[in-house]
Symmetry: C2
Subunit: 316 residues, 2 copies
């Protein structure tokens, strides 16, 4: 089967964009507005049994459908403009699922100030399908892309990594009776996108490249390196993880790093700043950008590979 | 099961939009830009076995996925800004389907000048799912909505109606060997949205309400009446149909009107103009707006009902 990246290459081949546009290859597309701002746009599909399960609390699925997209606006340093929700619903679906899903979706949109402006509804002959499109805004020249990393820049992340992946593991093992109060399950199902932090970082003017962490830095950092044509050295000892994750893994460093580097859906920000720059947002420096195209994980023998949405199993 | 309209009410309830926004209930949402323009946004989902069949030529499915959305920009009188494509692809799908689909999709986007700016790809555990989001642009105060019809206005349509529905019927009967050269099948699978006409009509300033005809005027006209709080008298003898449709129906007026009024996916424009206004676009006057809330189909006893995407069968 065609790979995700071959497919994206096929889609973008032969397309020339108008002046001032940024298209495929970033968290958001950038479209010039008539004034001195840009519209930022991102879109995601979420499918039952691929990205979520029907038996999980539907309000949490709704919350996540919204914030996974809002996080892409955060990744570019944008402010909220609006959100669109399309739902493909099987005939046998209980109304309660839809109504509870909407509660969670609307709660997230209200929390992050994204008005729901439209969408589409239709009947599915198969499973539940969700498509979300989110629009943000940014002054000209202020949006942060993936392509601006430079030799010597410091690689940084917000928050701690790996809790969400650990939560997914616990959720998958919990059969039909998950503990929604569990710290890790909360971290997996109720991520909080770094919208305010992304905006503050873009306004600082000190951040050269940024994206959100959705597939784990083992995959996501490669996107920044590819778009910026550079390499990196990451000091794995500096990757921030929660005290809870250390306890869960009984201090097993390999397991901790697997969660923190390869686990997805943290929705923290990964960014590079000018070396030594003081930023208005709490963060941890985990490495630095170097010339060339190699990615070195200092302190481990593991090779952390990229993530292909077509060849790996991914549930929730 | 919850109806499409109940669901939309649930989604829009309790949402207050910022000043200058138009949200759910029109062909496009309208978002103010930083300058004196508005961004227009519309999004649609297309599902295998609901909106299209895998065995139909994939380039035509690709074309239609693009133009069904582009038609929403036409309906508001907008000009092109960009388009986003999300694909959920089952593992057993042949690569050829995807590549041929993309050919048709990209051809339509190029023809109507909508650059492809992004999207999403993922693996589907079920059937093929397609989600398209399209963005257009319009000067402030120029976008035409569904809500401006006034007592005495004339109801107009572009082109001829009903050919697409007749084509669907022929396609469904043609088993595995459809004649893609057939006039009606062409009209069904290769609709041509009225983008230039929509723009010219909005620029004329003489059109009070407009939408595109996707579900048949029997359903679509009701949206204009509901949003504009008025009624209408339609003279069914004036509804324009092609000579080919007359021949196909051997002049049977009931059959012709069923196709022209209840058949969907013509992607012509339905609009109302000030009585007697001269327009820069070829059109046919088919009736007039009246006060009250009744919709009268002059010249027929049939009641043409609205279309509910959750309770009717719809294939292609």
């Amino acid at each position: 089967m065609i790979s995700e990246f071959e497919l994206i290459d096929k889609i973008r081949s032969g397309i020339s964009l108008p002046d001032g546009y940024v298209g495929i290859g970033d968290d958001c597309a950038h479209l010039p507005e008539s004034g001195s701002y840009r519209t930022l746009v991102s879109t995601d599909m979420l499918l039952e049994n691929v990205h979520f399960l029907r038996k999980v609390r539907a309000d949490l699925t709704g919350w996540k459908a919204a914030v996974a997209n809002i996080s892409d606006i955060a990744a570019c340093g944008g402010s909220p403009k609006g959100i669109f929700l399309s739902l493909a619903l099987p005939r046998d679906l209980e109304d309660a699922w839809v109504l509870v899903f909407l509660d969670g979706f609307k709660k997230a949109c209200a929390e992050y100030s994204f008005p729901i402006l439209g969408g589409d509804t239709c009947e599915s002959a198969g499973k539940i399908g969700i498509s979300v499109t989110v629009l943000g805004q940014c002054p000209d020249g202020r949006a942060v892309s993936r392509s601006g990393a430079r030799d010597g820049d410091e690689i940084c992340v917000t928050g701690t990594l790996g809790d969400s992946a650990a939560g997914l593991g616990i959720l998958l093992k919990s059969e039909n009776n998950p503990d929604y109060g569990n710290y890790f399950i909360q971290r997996h199902l109720c991520p909080r996108p770094r919208l305010a932090e992304g905006l503050a970082l873009s306004e600082s003017g000190l951040v050269n490249a940024m994206m959100d962490i959705s597939d784990g830095i083992g995959s996501d950092l490669r996107h920044i390196l590819a778009e910026s044509h550079c390499g990196a050295i990451v000091d794995t000892a500096r990757i921030p993880v929660s005290e809870n994750l250390r306890l869960l893994c009984a201090g097993n460093r390999v397991r901790i790093l697997d969660y923190a580097i390869s686990g997805g859906e943290d929705y923290e920000l990964l960014f590079v700043k000018k070396a030594g720059a003081s930023l208005p947002v709490a963060h941890t420096v985990i490495g630095r950008i170097v010339s060339g195209d190699s990615l070195v994980w200092k302190g481990t023998d593991r090779k952390y590979k990229g993530y292909n949405h077509f060849s790996d199993e991914k549930v929730f």
